[in-house]
């Protein structure tokens, strides 16, 4: 019968059309690898805490001092070498002179006087050498003392630095927490655009409460600046380290950079 024949053909064609369309869709979709099916927990908002804390300055200072000390040490070492070389030269010259003198004398004077004179010269030379040696020793001694002092200083600095590093690591966790909280409370205005950025200075009291928020560097968009200030104020109170030294160092006052990066525009 005609109709059944058509039915079988129709079913076949319908299935074929669906297979083709679905296949095309799937392959097209696949080729668009950049199509972002982003995992749920990933945010792009960047509110980085830019700390102008004394610690980093100090770190820099330590590094600078260290570098200076090294330079100084090198310079001094060089100077000492120079001095030693000069002394050696002088010694050599003197010796040469003496030798000449002695030879002259030898030549001039009789052989009898020779031995005596020679002894005298020898003594003289020894004396000179001794004094030179003494001077060099003294110099070296002073040098070594200074070096030791510097090393001690460097060690102290190193320890200081190391302790600061562990503090820093601890502080980092708090910073991350603060950052998260700010991002959470930050509702960006519709006029916000990617690439805008505002820097605010936040001042806290040791309990972590926000005392003041000041815009240090405006984004140029009032609404955006307001949203940033609100983001901090809304948080109200941050978790800060109980250690007062650490608090004073990192959290008494810090600056935060707000810069949206996940916006479409």
């Amino acid at each position: 019968m005609n109709l059944t024949g058509y039915s079988i053909l129709s079913v076949f064609l319908a299935v074929a059309i669906h297979a083709v369309i679905v296949g095309l869709l799937l392959t097209n979709w696949q080729s668009e690898e950049h199509f972002p099916v982003t995992p749920a927990e990933k945010f792009y908002i960047d509110a980085s805490v830019v700390k102008q804390n004394p610690h980093t300055v100090k770190k820099e200072n330590t590094a600078k001092i260290k570098r200076q000390a090294q330079a100084r040490r090198q310079k001094e070492k060089k100077a000492a070498q120079q001095r030693a070389r000069l002394a050696q030269e002088a010694l050599d010259k003197q010796a040469a002179l003496d030798k000449q003198k002695a030879e002259e004398a030898q030549r001039k004077q009789a052989a009898i006087e020779q031995s005596r004179l020679e002894q005298l010269l020898e003594q003289q030379r020894r004396e000179i050498a001794e004094s030179e040696q003494q001077a060099a020793d003294e110099l070296a001694e002073a040098d070594r003392a200074r070096l030791e002092q510097e090393i001690a200083l460097a060690v102290i600095e190193e320890q200081d630095y190391r302790r600061a590093v562990t503090d820093d690591e601890k502080a980092q966790a708090y910073v991350a927490q603060i950052q998260r909280e700010m991002i959470q409370n930050w509702s960006r205005p519709p006029s916000a655009r990617n690439g805008m950025q505002a820097i605010v200075r936040v001042r806290l009291v040791p309990t972590g409460e926000v005392v003041s928020v000041d815009v240090e560097e405006s984004s140029g968009n009032d609404a955006f600046d307001r949203s940033v200030v609100q983001a901090v104020q809304k948080s109200g109170r941050f978790l800060v380290p109980a250690d007062s030294r650490q608090f004073e160092r990192n959290f008494r006052s810090f600056t935060v950079l707000f810069r949206p990066e996940d916006l479409r525009l």
């Binding site: 005609n2 058509y6 053909l9 995992p39 927990e41």
Partner: protein, 226 residues
């Protein structure tokens, strides 16, 4: 099908209701395409046969011969042939009985042909209501799936305190797949329905015209016979 495809992931990760909706729509799309092809072939055949039959009918051939040819043919008569057969059969039967006068005979013949025609019309229209239903409801069904999916993804958003677009985006995306499938099913169905409805209308008009012409022919034959 492949397994590492993101759209497939989207479909597989959708909630049960959305998946059901998508499955239903896919099924509807499948069936409607089956109907589209089947109707397309059937209507084309009916049209072709009708033209062929009309040519034969008006070629001046003996009607009895045509009738016998149709009756003895292996394939089932469709369209015009059926109407002709019904009318001619009734006409010869009434004439053999000689029980009725001309007007009555023509009334019976006309009725028989009308019945055959409505049966033919019904046959032509099979499946078209289904296309109409798919065309008009599947967008709504898809929309329902989408709304349900978005509802769920927003409900999920309520429990997350990090309100970000990327939390809801996958949910909305997979929900929108339902609407896409709905439209995918609906658009061909609507187009095919409109086209086939017009084709059926044309065929029915042709049947109507033929019925009238055939009635006239028979009536003239009755009078001439007298």
């Amino acid at each position: 099908m492949n397994e590492q495809l993101s759209i497939l992931d989207l479909v597989l990760n959708a909630s049960l209701v959305v998946q059901l909706v998508m499955g239903l729509l896919l099924l509807a799309s499948m069936v409607s395409w089956v109907v589209i092809f089947q109707r397309g072939f059937t209507l084309a055949t009916v049209r072709r046969e009708a033209i062929e039959f009309e040519n034969e009918f008006w070629s001046g051939k003996d009607l009895r011969k045509i009738y016998l040819e149709i009756e003895s043919a292996e394939r089932e008569p469709i369209g015009l042939e059926n109407i002709f057969v019904a009318g001619f059969k009734e006409f010869t039967r009434l004439r053999q009985q000689k029980a009725a006068d001309h007007d009555q005979t023509m009334q019976y013949v006309g009725r028989a042909m009308r019945v055959a025609m409505s049966r033919e019309e019904e046959r032509l229209e099979t499946g078209l209501p289904f296309l109409a239903t798919v065309g008009s409801t599947s967008p709504y069904v898809g929309l329902f799936g989408t709304v349900w999916g978005i509802m769920n993804s927003f409900r999920g958003l309520a429990t997350v305190n990090q309100a970000s677009l990327s939390v809801v985006a996958p949910g909305i995306s997979e929900a929108l797949v339902a609407t896409a499938i709905g439209l995918f099913a609906a658009i061909p169905a609507v187009i095919a329905y409109n086209r086939y409805a017009a084709l059926v209308e044309v065929s029915v008009n042709r049947f109507d015209a033929f019925t009238d012409e055939f009635s006239g022919l028979l009536y003239r034959a009755l009078h001439n016979q007298k």
